[in-house]
Structures are given as structure tokens and as C-alpha cells.
Amino acid sequence: MHGVRRARQTQEALEAKRLKDQSKLHDYLALSDDVLARKKQKDWSREALRSTTQLLQINPEFYTVWNYRRHILVNGIFPESTPEQIKDLLKDDLSLTMAALKIHPKVYWIWTHRGWCLNNVPSGPGVDGEGDLRGWEKELWNQELFVVEKLLDADPRNFHAWSYRRVVLDSLPVPKPETSELAYTTRKIESNFSNFSAWHQRSKVLSSLWSTGRLDQTKSKEEEFDLVQNAMYTDPRDQSVWIYHRWLIGSGDNKEILDREIAVIQSLLEEETDSKWCMESLVHYKRLLLHNHAALVDKSALTRNCIHLLEQLREVDPGRRARYDEIELEITRL
């Protein structure tokens, strides 16, 4: 988890732990051997299912066993069960994975198993034209959204959770409006804007809203610039803010916006004279001016300005001096 320190332990504590681990290891290996043996024999019984439960609770990263578990369900247990029983079994597995996620929120195989469960929910509870055929699906997917929200409250920078959130939003039988997702990213950004995933999600949602015409792109972009400028001035060192800004500028077709943003960043640089991000962004945007609007700008002045910025960049960010050298070459070659 972000921001949680490792606990340091004394020699005695380490030794005691080692001994405890020895016996746990012994039991684990016995269990693991048993499960793998059953798998080899294609044991699809309920007893086998219970063994996998036990094993996965200790080690949820053992993806072979998750696979085996799915085989047991599909080949052994589902054929003997009614749709309702299948739904309940899948619900149990959702509980199992939920418990596992609380302890291991970043293990891929737990997430994939959850997805598999949700994708295998049978139609119901209605039957053939009567009642809601997607009722169970809706219930479980909505719960999913709730689950992922809780996980993101606990660690808003867990990219697994964000990625899964996109899967859930796509799979909801009754889709949620994208404007509400926009509001969700707003909340996350406002509570801590040092969150690349939240900005990223925002960019995806906005792109979709703009392309479908649900939000006026021009007006919306202005609001985004306002938002990102506030973040920039509050903490010029936050990388995700600058990356989002760069996405907003895009190819730099709009000269008015480009000029304005350059001025804003220039003011910030006057306050924070050693801000690497200010300098670097200014160079990038001025290059866009040179590239896209050559006829309208004072080329030599701009170029001189960029070179001066690159000089300063070499001082504040000496680890990347070769890159700045290269940029200088490219500019002067134009």
C-alpha cells in the first residue's frame, strides 16, 4: 500500500517468527501436494473444492489452483446444480475473493477469478420472458462497483482497482452515466491530486464524453485547464498534473490556448525559479509553437528562449543533460 511503512523487527522476534514459519511451511507443503495430486487425477469433488479453498486462503497467488478450482466448479459441481445454486456458489466465491483482496489487494489472479465468477452468472431469477433475466447479474455487478469503491477509498492509487473499475463499468447490465464517473474522479482528485490513476481515468471519461458530444469540448477543456492550473500552483512538483496538462494541450493546434498556458507556466516559474517541470513544459510547448505556428511567431526569439531554458534544465536536472542536449540540437536544426 502506498505510504505504509515496513515494520522493523528485533533479532529475537525474527527468530521466533522463523520457527513458527517452519511448521506452517510443513503443513502448507503437505496441503499443496495433496491438491496438486487431486488435480492430476481430475478430482472434481466437493472435497477437492474444500481443499482448494484452504490452500488459496493461505496462498492466493497460486494461479494453478485458481484454475483447478474453476475446473472443479464447471466440470464437477455446476452440472449437478440448479441455476440458483450456481449463483449461490459463485456468490460464495465472490466472498472468498473479497476476503482475499482485503489482505492482498494487488494479486492479479484474485481479480481474474472474480471477473470469471461474474461472467458466469446464469440468467435469472426470471424464466423465459417472465421476470428479470438479468436480475442476478445486475445485483452482483452493482455490488462489484461498491467493492471496488471501497478498495479505492482504502488506497486510491491502486491501479489494479482502477483497471477493474473500468471492467465493471463496462459490464454493468445497466450502465452508469459517464458524467457520474467524471464526478467520481473529481472527488478523488480533490481529496488528493497526487493520483495518476484518477487523472488518467478522467482523461478517458472526458475523451468519451467529448467524442459522443455529451459535453461541449471547448467549455469543458477550459474548466480542465482551470482545474489543472490550480493543482500546478498548489504543488508544482506533482508529476501527474503536468502529464495531464500535456494531454490537454495535445498537438498544440490552438495557438491562443498555447500562448495562454505558456504565460501561466511562465508566471509560476517566476515564483518557483528552480521548477524543472515548469522549464521542461515551457520548452515542449514553445517547440509546439515553432512547429505548428511558425508563420506567426518570432522564431529566433523563441529558439533563444528555449536554449536558455535548456541551460537551466541542465543545472536543475543534471541526470538528463544528454536529453536536453539532444533537444537543443533538434531546435537549432529547424
Binding site: 457520474s180 473529481t186 480533490e190 490550480n230 500552483y233 504543488d235 509560476l268
Partner: protein, 586 residues
């Protein structure tokens, strides 16, 4: 002979500092008697029910407070007197600091609950109440601060919260650190007047435009470090009236550790016992109490100066005055503070309608209707000269507590309002009546506060109860009702008996003088002062045991004295046997 009335130490007064000291000494193994002439705990920091408060306000006081009372509505229009816990010295507790540490380490925190102060606001120069931004997130979202000001404010807050010593920092180079904090903020960090005032009065809790830079920076850093420990706000308020309840909690802990409590029995006499030629081990003082059968004795007396007869203090040279352990104690502090208590039955709001930073966000589904949320517990600071009708030279601080603090019934709030009277003011003269009554001084600010009503109704908010008083830290001359016995004039003779080269241990420890401190500081000051007194008490009490030992070794037929009799105390509170995760729990 085990004498039930014989104690190692007697502590007089159950204010917070005295109560922490008593608890620590009792837990360290000493026999403690703790006295208070009132029938309640907490002394000048007590939390009283409404009826008790009215009694307190209308009785003539011989304590350090002078009461001036007004617009007291008859208490029969306010039922449920016992559901009110009105603090005589309201304060808030920083989430990180000596008081919290003592509360946790002593186990007292388990006796009660705490409420986070949910909101701090400042009354701005354009007559609006505005949220005080205290964190990066607050600053980011605040629509009233310009981009450039956001940058400068952030830069200042980062500077203020770093660990490095302030004195050596580059930002302080060349500045006179005695410069007023307000000027320092404007000059060194290019902050505008409004933001500088917000930082000075509502983040650092300075009370005067002349308050100096270094103390303000130290305070600010302590508060910034308290953000995030238990929530977004750095401050807590104890349930059931905070100050008095916490003092009582420490007394309870002391009692569990064996301390004896005697309340409501004023001291009739304090006698210093003549030491016979040999027996230094007889107790040093005998106290008789009104309506109390037997006298009690002790080796060590701990008390504030104002509770001891003047004669006792003047004539004895075994007195030790403990200096304040709170940093910057010698600063030009005010010695009086005007206070007001007001009870209302309508909620206030300190936040304007909540807007997201993004305008026009078309999200009706997820939007939370946050128009004028009702406040439960919050602080409003009025910088000097911010209210046109007001003329207080210092900042006025308002603390609002609602039912979440368990000190009022449902649907009621207490507004505590206060402003210190600066030492240059003519009213800070000890003995004369104030030129300006506390009511006149505070009323304009109270009225402004009442205008922050959350209901949009036209009906003005009328308080159900108001009371104003003046609290003074200058010791009132002690009434002569307590007699000190004829003190032996041949003290030097009795000292020679012990043959020891060491100077005699002090037998009276005078608590550090009480101070008028910013809202979040009095609890921490009490905890630090209690610890200082505790260590001096240990030294003094061990001194007595040493003399006892020496004495005994001089007598052939005395039982051998064991080394273990000299208690070795290593820490202020005994180590708690607990799981690791107990540490941060409240």
C-alpha cells in the same frame, strides 16, 4: 504504626495540572492525598452542569476568577441541567502533543471519548465567515485564493511544517526574529494581508498583531503535525465538557492507584511541624480540614501559590517555585481573559454553500446536497478589528460545541467566546474593576457569530442563556481564613540535625503560575508543567527517604533500611502492558 492520615504528598486543588501530577505520583507508588475545597473536580477548569454553573457564577469567589454575570435567563426555562457540561476554561486538544501523550500513557483516554473539531473558520475583512485552509487539499479546492497566493501559501506551509530548527533556516536569515509574525509573513513570504491574518490568528492562534514570529512558528508546526492523526482537523474536544472531565479522569486514575480524595472540605489550618532534634522522619506538615475528623500529614505539599496562606510561603525557605515548562513562557502574556458562555437552540453554519472546484458539473446523481451543513463542533476566529462594532484589541476566539461533544442535549449548542486582555490595556490592572465589562467587549462578536445561522429563516437567533465573566491569572490575595501555625524561627537549628551536606529538600512545591494561552495550548501546558512538578516531587520525596535512611543508620536498634526503599522512577508514566495497536487508540 500505619497511619491512615499520613501521606507522602498532599496536592491542593484539582485543576488539570494538579490532577495530572497527582495521578503520576500515585502511579509511581507514592501515597497521595488530593484536596479541593469545591465539591467538584477541576477547580478553575471544571465542567459544570447548568445549575452548578449558575451557582458558581452567583457565589462570591475567593478563587482566581472574578465573575461578572448578566442576562441570565432563569434556568427553569432550560430543562435538563445535568445534560449540560459547561467548561469554565474551554480549550481544544491538539492531536499530537504532551496532553494526548499523557492521556494515552496514563490510560485516562479510555475513560472518555473525544470529538474532532470539524471546522475552523475565520471572519474575513469583507465580513464573511470563511473556511481556513490547513492542508494542501484545502488550498487546492479553495476558490477564494488566487493561483499565485496558493503557491506562496503552500510554500509557507511547507516551510512551517519541516523538522529543521527554525533558527538556522535561510528564510529567517537577516530577519529579526522578534519581528511580529504578521509582518514576517508579508515580508518574507509575500503573503497578502488577508492570508497573513488567517495564518496568524486562525492557524497559529496568535492573539495580537504584535505576537512574535518564533513562538508563532513553533505553535503552527505543532498544530500542522496534528493534522491527519485522527482526521482532517488537528484538534479534539473531550466529551462531557473536556477540561473538567479530563481533570476528573486523571483523578480517577490517581484514586485507582491509591490516592485519597477529599472534596468540599476547605483547609482550616496548615501547620509546619517542628522537627525534633533527631526525628526528621516525622511529617513536615499537618493539615486540618473543615468538618473532617482527623488531621492529615505529609512530607511534601504541592499547590499553586494562591491556595496557600501568605505567611506559610513567606516564612519558609524550603519552597521551590517550579517555572513554567511550556516554551516561550516569559513572553509578554496577558493576565486576564474575558469569557462568555451562550446556549442556543439553532444550528450555525460556518461554510458557505459547498461548490466543487468544477463549475457546472452536470452530476445530479452523485451530488450531495450540501447547502449550509449544520455545524456540530467548530472554531471561528475574529482577527483584531475585523468586526466594525467590536473594539477588542486582541483576536476573539469562538468555540462552538454541539451534541456530538456530549456536553449539551440534542438540539442545543454552547458557544464559548473569549478574548485575552493584553497587558498594556488599562484593564489588566489586577485589583480594580474593569473599565469595560466582558459583556460589552464580547457582545458584538457574539452577535456576529449568531448571525451565522444555518436556517434561512428571517427570525434572528436569540440565545437561551448568556453569561460573561473575567478570568484572571494574577493570584487574588488570599483570604486569611487559612492559618499557618507559628513557624519555627529557628529553622537553621532543625536543619543542622541531619548532618547532611546536601541542602534540605524543598517541602513545598509551587505549581507554575497559570497562564492565559491560545485555545489549543492550555492542555499541553498543563501536561508539561505537571511533568516538571512530578520530577521535582520525586527528587524531594527521595530526599526525604534519604534523610530517613541516614537517621536510621545513626540509631543502632533501628531495622536496616533497604535500598529498594528509594524508589527509582524512570519515566513519567509507568510502562503500559499493552498490544502495539493500543498506542494510537483513543
Amino acid at each position: 504504626m500505619d497511619d491512615e492520615g499520613a501521606f507522602d504528598v498532599i496536592v491542593i486543588g484539582t485543576g488539570l495540572t494538579e490532577s495530572i501530577t497527582a495521578a503520576a505520583l500515585a502511579k509511581a507508588g507514592f501515597k497521595v492525598a488530593h484536596l479541593d475545597e469545591n465539591v467538584y473536580y477541576g477547580g478553575d477548569e471544571a465542567s459544570l452542569s447548568l445549575d452548578e454553573y449558575i451557582d458558581w457564577a452567583t457565589q462570591p469567589r475567593t478563587s482566581t476568577q472574578i465573575s461578572s454575570f448578566s442576562s441570565l435567563s432563569p434556568s427553569d426555562t432550560l430543562p435538563n441541567s445535568r445534560q449540560y457540561s459547561i467548561s469554565l476554561s474551554p480549550s481544544v486538544i491538539p492531536a499530537t502533543g504532551p496532553l494526548i501523550s499523557s492521556l494515552v500513557a496514563s490510560g485516562v483516554s479510555r475513560y472518555g471519548g473525544f470529538r474532532l473539531v470539524e471546522h475552523v473558520a475565520v471572519y474575513s475583512s469583507d465580513h464573511k465567515v470563511e473556511t481556513v485552509p490547513g492542508s494542501k487539499e484545502d488550498i487546492f479546492k479553495d476558490k477564494t485564493i488566487s493561483l499565485l497566493d496558493k503557491r506562496r501559501l503552500m510554500r509557507f506551509l511547507v516551510f512551517a511544517s519541516e523538522d529543521e530548527e527554525f533558527e538556522g533556516r535561510v528564510e529567517l536569515e537577516g530577519t529579526n526574529v522578534d519581528m511580529p509574525f504578521l509582518e514576517f509573513l508579508k515580508a518574507t513570504f509575500s503573503l497578502n494581508q488577508e492570508i497573513a491574518e488567517t495564518i496568524t490568528y486562525a492557524l497559529s492562534y496568535c492573539t495580537s498583531p504584535t505576537d512574535k514570529t518564533l513562538p508563532a512558528l513553533h505553535r503552527l508546526r505543532r498544530y500542522l503535525r496534528s493534522i491527519g492523526r485522527y482526521g482532517h482537523s488537528p484538534f479534539l474536544v473531550g466529551h462531557y465538557g473536556s477540561s473538567g472531565e479530563i481533570a476528573q479522569g486523571f483523578c480517577r486514575t490517581a484514586a485507582v492507584a491509591g490516592a485519597v480524595y477529599i472534596l468540599g472540605k476547605p483547609i482550616s489550618s496548615i501547620t509546619r511541624n517542628r522537627n525534633s532534634e533527631k526525628a526528621q522522619s516525622t511529617p513536615t506538615y499537618t493539615l486540618t480540614l473543615a468538618d473532617f475528623p482527623e488531621p492529615i500529614t505529609c512530607h511534601l505539599l504541592i499547590s499553586s501559590e494562591s491556595r496557600l496562606p501568605v505567611e506559610l510561603i513567606r516564612n519558609i525557605d524550603a519552597i521551590q517555585r517550579i517555572p513554567s515548562a511550556f516554551p516561550f513562557a516569559d513572553e509578554d502574556k496577558p493576565i486576564k481573559i474575558a469569557r462568555g458562555v451562550c446556549i442556543i437552540d439553532q444550528a450555525l453554519t460556518l461554510t458557505p454553500t459547498q461548490d466543487s472546484l468544477i463549475f457546472g458539473e452536470a452530476d445530479l446523481e452523485n451530488s450531495i446536497t450540501e447547502s449550509s451543513p449544520a455545524l456540530d463542533t467548530g472554531i471561528v476566529v475574529f482577527p483584531p478589528f475585523s468586526v466594525p462594532a467590536g473594539f477588542a484589541p486582541s483576536a476573539v476566539t469562538v468555540l462552538v460545541v454541539g451534541e456530538g461533544s456530549f456536553s449539551v442535549p440534542k438540539g442545543k449548542w454552547i458557544i464559548y467566546i473569549s478574548t485575552p486582555i493584553p497587558s498594556f490595556s488599562p484593564d489588566s490592572n489586577h485589583d480594580s474593576d474593569p473599565v469595560v465589562s466582558p459583556e460589552t467587549l464580547l457582545k458584538p462578536y457574539l452577535e456576529t457569530t449568531l448571525s451565522f445561522s444555518s436556517t434561512s429563516s428571517v427570525k434572528p437567533l436569540i440565545p437561551l442563556f448568556t453569561s460573561f465573566y473575567l478570568q484572571s491569572t494574577s493570584p487574588a490575595p488570599r483570604a486569611a481564613s487559612v492559618t499557618a501555625s507559628a513557624v519555627p524561627t529557628d529553622l537553621s537549628a532543625s536543619h543542622e540535625v541531619s548532618n547532611s551536606i546536601d541542602p534540605p529538600s524543598p517541602s513545598i512545591l509551587l505549581m507554575p503560575l497559570p497562564e492565559i494561552l491560545p485555545l489549543p495550548d492550555s492542555g499541553d501546558a498543563s501536561a508539561l508543567n505537571a511533568e516538571a512538578v512530578f520530577w521535582e516531587a520525586i527528587k524531594a520525596l527521595n530526599g526525604f527517604k534519604d534523610t530517613k535512611k541516614q537517621e536510621a543508620s545513626q540509631e543502632q536498634d533501628a531495622p536496616p533500611v533497604r535500598e529498594e526503599d528509594r524508589l527509582s522512577i524512570e519515566s513519567f508514566w509507568p510502562p503500559v502492558v499493552s498490544e502495539e495497536d493500543d498506542e494510537d487508540e483513543l
